[in-house]
Symmetry: C2
Subunit: 294 residues, 2 copies
């Protein structure tokens, strides 16, 4: 399985390396777009899309355009989130953030251009039918817009600025939208392409919801007991910043229990479809999310 993930990751990285051609305009905007797009990262979202499609159809290649679009949208969101009026971060994954290299105004525009290009990439795909492409565009815009990722980032900022009080329901709402919506897109885009039966789509949707929350709970736990070197950032920063997390709301044991709950539930979702499909790709993702140390 590790080999398959490596292969898919390489395919994504190869496609990313050529997706932003230099424009005839003499600006370095494309350079700044590529800087962040190629800044590494684990490519979890696009790999998850390809793994799901591989499970459903044994042919992951039709998923490449939406996988790239997904990574472009994830990347633009990081560029904008790092800006001084938002998280004001100088480094990401050990590299200078986009605005530290190219300046604030160009970072805003690079983010805008990556978001725009994501829709271009899906709409120009040559292997998918028109109706599937439109379904993917609908799903992508809803997952990443004011009802999804951008709405979640707004709620998160409001909570960090203590404009709103956070309880567990609000915390889950933040994570379902801010990070969960794109994880769900990854799984459901594959389900759209494979045009699966409704009960399969339902099980996959539930699965994606549970692993999205798992991803975040693990993030909060790693901020307590993670290895700074492996994480590439200092631990304990949530506590220091008085940030509401699963740990601050439920305690360490409570957060561990919650993680276990969503892990079990994710396996249960896969059990519903394992007579039809070999679910080992998606079981691997569960293990990856539970056991990750960075």
């Amino acid at each position: 399985m590790k080999q398959k993930v490596n292969t898919f990751t390489e395919e994504i990285n190869n496609a990313i390396a050529v997706i932003i051609p230099q424009s005839p305009l003499s600006t370095n905007l494309e350079e700044s777009m590529s800087y962040s797009l190629e800044a590494g990262g684990k490519r979890i979202r696009p790999v998850l899309l390809l793994l799901t499609l591989d499970m459903l159809t044994s042919n992951h290649e039709q998923g490449l355009s939406p996988a790239l679009a997904l990574e472009m949208i994830h990347t633009y969101s990081l560029i904008h989130d790092d800006l001084p009026p938002m998280d004001n971060d100088d480094y990401r994954r050990g590299k200078l953030t986009n605005h530290k290299v190219y300046g604030e105004w160009k970072a805003i525009l690079a983010g805008d251009a990556l978001l725009t290009k994501a829709f271009d990439v899906v709409s120009h795909d040559e292997t998918l039918s028109d109706s599937v492409k439109l379904k993917l565009i609908q799903r992508l815009s809803q997952a990443s817009g004011h009802l999804g990722m951008v709405g979640g980032q707004t709620l998160d900022m409001q909570s960090e600025n203590q404009e709103i009080q956070i309880d567990l329901a609000t915390l889950e709402q933040i994570h379902r939208t801010k990070t969960g919506a794109l994880i769900t897109f990854a799984v459901m885009a594959a389900s759209d392409i494979a045009q699966v039966e409704n009960h399969v789509a339902d099980a996959l949707y539930e699965y994606s919801d549970h692993i999205g929350l798992m991803f975040q709970i693990k993030d909060d736990l790693l901020d307590i007991y993670g290895d700074e070197e492996k994480l590439g950032k200092s631990v304990g920063s949530d506590l220091e910043n008085h940030k509401s997390t699963y740990v601050s709301l439920l305690g360490l044991d409570g957060a561990e229990e919650k993680l276990q709950h969503h892990t079990d539930a994710a396996y249960d979702c896969l059990a519903q479809i394992e007579q039809q499909y070999d679910t080992s790709n998606l079981k691997y993702i569960i293990e990856l999310f539970v056991n990750r140390d960075h």
Copy 2:
């Protein structure tokens, strides 16, 4: 014709008033999106789209979704351009800019959400065929992305920061991308929907290019001899900011001649199709662009 323009403008404003429903998330992100979307403006781009479609098919209604998407993208670009790291404007059309009302981080996110929603709106249209919707999404992403509007804004910022020297060719490149690309989208979206013959599409494309440049030359001229009250901004600011304009590069007479050249050329384009179509809608736009005083 004025009556028709007023009717189309009203249809656009009515649709805009209901296009951003409050989300279940308790944020005021939607309020900030609507604030800028409803902040007035002349709705030139969406009206141009509907006028072109009305000329081609006598039925403008199929143009409403792309017209709204176009206005959303125009609006997001104004929100981001007004931000402190870009133009740092406190007022637009006599109203406080988005970031002055809602803060910088929310203005960035409101822009992001409007851009995202534009693709959602086109993809969910119920009157257009799948292939036309995809064509419109392709055209919209190209017109507004790094090869279009965002690329043009980058070039414009680089010239204002004196990172590049401006000659007439570069100035035209800035305007063709920064403002011209969306004006061309308006005309060509109608042409896509009506599925016109190639020679008609070619004539319309040329027409849109000429009126896009006319729009900008007139802008530069109004900064010299416009009426501050009608413009809602002070004149002479280009000179004060040492901005490269048609007037600074060609002189006042040279800029007037250039305006006349593109006006004549735009009429010539319409002459090529007036045996097939009643071009009075598009002639009206030419007159509007030449005679406007704000």
